[in-house]
């Protein structure tokens, strides 16, 4: 799987973004001019980007369901 994702010219590292909350993500970049320089609502744009990145986060593997037949035995 690709390690990064590019959104409107900004390449984000996915695993780093996955480890952050939305607020931490916004706080990290809101003061940086080179991140989404065209955006009028920078915080909104960052939240949108965060949401896109989170959608690519792998789902945790569900624990195996107990084998009921084995349990009956």
């Amino acid at each position: 799987m690709q390690k990064d994702i590019t959104i409107d010219g900004v390449s984000f590292m996915k695993d780093w973004a996955w480890s952050k909350t939305e607020q931490q993500f916004v706080d990290e970049f809101k003061g940086m001019d080179h991140i989404f320089p065209e955006a009028t609502d920078k915080a909104g744009k960052l939240k949108e980007a965060y949401s896109i990145i989170q959608k690519e986060k792998p789902k945790p593997i569900e624990p195996a369901k107990p084998n009921l037949l084995e349990a009956v035995k």
Binding site: D4, T6, M13, E28, H34, I35
Partner: protein, 319 residues
Amino acid sequence: MSNFSICGQVAANTGGIDCDVTRGVPSSLIVGSGSFLTTDYATSAGFKTAFLQKIKRANTAGDKLFPFPVIQGNTDKTVAAKEGNLGYGLRVVLLRSKPGYEFDVLAGSSLEKKLMKFNNKTIPVYVFDDSSNIWGTINSIGTFSGALYLLTVEPRGFGDGQSPKTTKISISIIDSKDFTENSKFASTDFTTSDLTGLLDAVLFESAVHATNVYHIGAKILTDALNSFVDVHANSIYATGLAAAANWVAKTGATFGTSLAITTVVDDPTNGGWTVTLDSTAYTALASGAQIKLNFTDPGTLDTAGITGIEGNAIILTKP
């Protein structure tokens, strides 16, 4: 003649194989310690992939292979077998011949400097011939590698208007058996253009940084004064390297600690890329701490379509 013999034990059957292959005309040399296990060359496609991957290794990799420029001429410098004669004239070979060759290659002064770093080195050498066979040697457990040669490089002088001048690469084999008894070749469909070396892309700060936000450019140095090739000026590289996955940052005493890169953005204003490091980790670094920033390894870059270069890291010192 005696009817008793151990020829079958000390010698061998002498039948010939139809269409057996002989060495062709050398097209290029590939030097370095990269070798191939039986599993690597179990299939032709597997060998081809493995061989090209080793050319794209980082300089720090012990198994990297370095292709030399295409050969334009070849002089046999094999040292003839040493002979002696008995009293009645029987000629006896005292020492077998020692294969060696001198190759002419075209290399500009920038490349010649790189080639000179191999001068007087004992190094494994694969010879790629005009039948696309790669000649090397094999050991007792089946590992295919370059035969060990003493390699020397004679730089090109000024022209004289009389004869063409070239850079001369000479090889003399360490163990003559590696040229014959231990010799093996791999048939490929390579062309010499498949076997080209990497260029060093030297990273530099293209503008002053602001805390954890760095402006980085990359240049390929040339021998011309105050001249370099700007990697960012090529749009394929400008776009391809504007990807966080193609960069790596390390810190710590031996640069063994990863430092997270959060974003990378193309930075045409400064002719490079804006690389942002994780602010929390950056803030935690002491003043004077060093950060080694580089492109990722050339093999990964190649897979991402950024071909032919290897990043030379920049060391950044936190103020």
